[in-house]
């Protein structure tokens, strides 16, 4: 009796999360899977067809996929280069200043991201802020950053930097700085202490931050759509266009989505494997 009641309570407690995951994760995933396996029509013809997966192998898509991959890796790398020192700096400040710095790092997340991206368009366009700045510094060549891969990376770094900073900040905050003193005491220079002690022990934060930024950047479509123009299409734009722009091709869009999910899942799986081994 007691056990049954416990089971009933457990089921009740699990109900909200089960409903949530079922309705908003598993069901859409199932729909996408089904769409990827039927023919295109208006917008889909309910006829089983596996040809979508053959069409995915088009070199054009491979090229866009490689571009997405390159831009995502580049974004992750730059976020890491900027984010690690930033996280370290914040973690070293006295608590009051730390709160202020947290506020500044999180500020962009509070504003509408679309508006912020438009702001970047203004900054990056010809005769925009950067162009004028370079002119003032004596560069005569007109420089237009807008609608280039550089603009996309700038936008992505701007968007995703907090996702890099916070996991790293978390592991630096937990770090016992006596260990750095111990390393110095045993003859390690500042760089050696960083490489041998601080970096390995904050690696979980680096990995988590990199994964968050990488996967988000890989699937993004707003930033490349606005800052990249037609020449810097990313995987996310491809998916979005198959669903919303003519010519519509829902099965292909669904297939592209699933391909990216598979890729990201492998990445996450590798991450947990490496983490488990090092733990």
């Amino acid at each position: 009796m007691e056990k049954q009641r416990e089971r009933g309570q457990l089921a009740l407690l699990l109900l909200p999360s089960t409903l949530w995951l079922g309705l908003f994760f598993l069901a859409p995933l199932g729909i996408i899977l089904v769409i990827s396996l039927v023919q295109r029509g208006g917008p889909v013809a309910w006829q089983l067809d596996g040809s979508t997966y053959v069409r995915l192998l088009d070199p054009l898509y491979l090229k866009i996929f490689l571009r997405s991959l390159t831009l995502a890796v580049l974004t992750t790398f730059i976020c890491l280069l900027v984010g690690y020192p930033l996280a370290y700096y914040i973690a070293q400040r006295p608590p009051r200043l730390r709160n202020l710095l947290h506020f500044f790092v999180l500020l962009p997340l509070w504003a509408n991201s679309l508006v912020l991206t438009y702001a970047w368009m203004v900054l990056l366009r010809p005769e925009g802020f950067f162009d004028s700045l370079l002119h003032a510094l004596g560069f005569t060549e007109p420089i237009s950053l807008l609608y280039t891969p550089t603009a996309v990376v700038i936008g992505l770094v701007y968007w995703y930097l907090p996702f890099m900073v916070y996991p790293i900040y978390g592991s630096i905050e937990k770090f016992d700085f006596t260990l750095i003193e111990a390393a110095h005491d045993l003859g390690a220079t500042r760089f050696q202490a960083f490489r041998k002690v601080l970096l390995p022990l904050t690696m979980p934060g680096v990995m988590a931050g990199s994964l968050l930024v990488f996967i988000s950047a890989l699937g993004t479509f707003v930033v490349p759509a606005l800052l990249g123009g037609d020449k810097t299409l990313m995987w996310g734009n491809l998916i979005q266009q198959r669903f919303l722009s003519t010519p519509q091709d829902w099965p292909l869009g669904a297939g592209l989505s699933l391909a990216m999910m598979l890729f990201a899942s492998v990445g996450i799986w590798l991450y947990f494997r490496v983490n488990r081994e090092s733990a």
Binding site: D176, T178, L179, E181, A182, A183, H184, D185, L186, G187, A188, T189, Q192, K196, V197, P200, L201, S278
Partner: protein, 362 residues
């Protein structure tokens, strides 16, 4: 040849408005086991950190092996520190932890291995090379920290309350072991502790610190038998303090009147008549007796007010007058000798009662 391993000259350290270390001068001999003893906040750990190079002194000079060390970074000093928390690298196993200092010296693998093995056998940890710190007991972690600090053969080893986290029995064992190790290696040990017994057990010399100053430096028996100030007498061991006025002096002896009870004490330097002083006397220096008393200059009668049985000895509180109660400790050769309410004779040899220097600073 310069005998001193470490020399501090007028060393001071300010943290904002707070003076952590004030005008400390010390000379520590090569191969000496030297303790910095004092309550928490007395400046002993700050002094150690200045020596290790983690902080820079506000003024004063530090000499290590005869050369000025001010401003030199920790990694350039021939001094290693054993941290209170051990500070073992959690992502490295025992071998890697101990090898760390040698790798930083750019020694080859074939050079490193025998040195690590020797250091581990020195602290009796052979066989645990591949364990990680979290898989070790507190005592074992302590030994790894010791091996890691000793493996590079520093000329000075600094130890910051290294036994603080161990239980009593293990601590006593490690005290003897540390002392033996220090003798064997003949390295200068500078040992920070707030545990007076630990300092007395291990040290060749002790510097007692209070409010950032060194109040007394001496061998353990000097510190215990001839405490320089009331603070030292109070901090190290148990002491009876008797307040009184000097009624006559015959250097080095003085006669003191303590609320009507007259007693003789040692007074160095000479004190003038009429001066208010404090006399210190250790509880175990006082004898008590039920019948007659052996002849002595300081002989009184009193009433046993309270007794506390402590195993090896018993502590008695004996009332001499309305104002004066003394603590007496006597070994339990015959523990049923005295009872509460007994009238007893008590006394002490005059050299055991000491007039204390007035405190230079509170």
């Amino acid at each position: 040849m310069d005998e001193s391993s470490v020399e501090l000259k007028n060393l001071s350290k300010q943290f904002g408005a707070h003076s952590a270390v004030r005008d400390v001068s010390l000379q520590i001999k090569r191969g000496e086991f030297f303790s910095l003893l004092g309550p928490s906040g007395c400046g002993k750990t700050t002094t150690l950190r200045l020596l290790a190079g983690f902080d820079n002194p506000s003024s004063g000079e530090i000499f290590i092996n005869g050369s000025l060390a001010n401003g030199a970074p920790p990694y350039a000093r021939d001094v290693n520190l054993v941290f209170q928390s051990y500070a073992l690298f959690p992502h490295m196993n025992v071998y890697q932890n101990v090898a760390f200092g040698l790798e930083m010296k750019k020694l080859s693998r074939s050079q490193i291995q025998p040195m690590v093995e020797a250091a581990l056998s020195l602290v009796r940890l052979t066989g645990l090379e591949s364990r990680f710190p979290k898989q070790l007991s507190g005592g074992q972690q302590q030994r790894v920290a010791l091996a890691r600090a000793l493996v590079t053969h520093p000329s000075v080893l600094l130890l910051d309350e290294p036994l603080g986290a161990l239980d009593l029995k293990l601590r006593k064992e490690m005290q003897l072991e540390l002392k033996k190790l220090q003798r064997k290696l003949n390295i200068t040990f500078i040992y920070v502790t707030h545990d007076q017994e630990e300092a007395l057990t291990m040290s060749d010399r002790i510097a007692v610190m209070h409010h950032g100053r060194v109040v007394q430096v001496g061998r353990p028996e000097e510190i215990y038998e001839q405490p320089a100030t009331r603070f030292v007498a109070d901090f190290i061991g148990e002491t009876n303090f008797i307040e009184g006025e000097i009624i006559s002096c015959d250097p080095p002896w003085v006669k003191v009147d303590a609320q009507g009870i007259q007693m003789n004490a040692l007074g160095i330097p000479p004190y003038e008549k009429g001066r208010e002083v404090v006399i210190a006397i250790r509880p175990e220096k006082i004898w008590i007796n039920k019948e007659s008393a052996p002849p002595s200059e300081n002989q009184f009668t009193g009433l046993i007010e309270e007794l506390v049985y402590l195993g090896t000895d018993t502590r008695y509180l004996v009332r001499l007058s309305d104002e004066l109660i003394l603590t007496v400790r006597q070994q339990n050769l015959d523990h049923s000798a005295f009872r509460k309410g007994d009238r007893v004779y008590l006394g002490w040899p005059a050299p055991c009662a000491q007039v204390l220097h007035p405190e230079t600073e509170a």
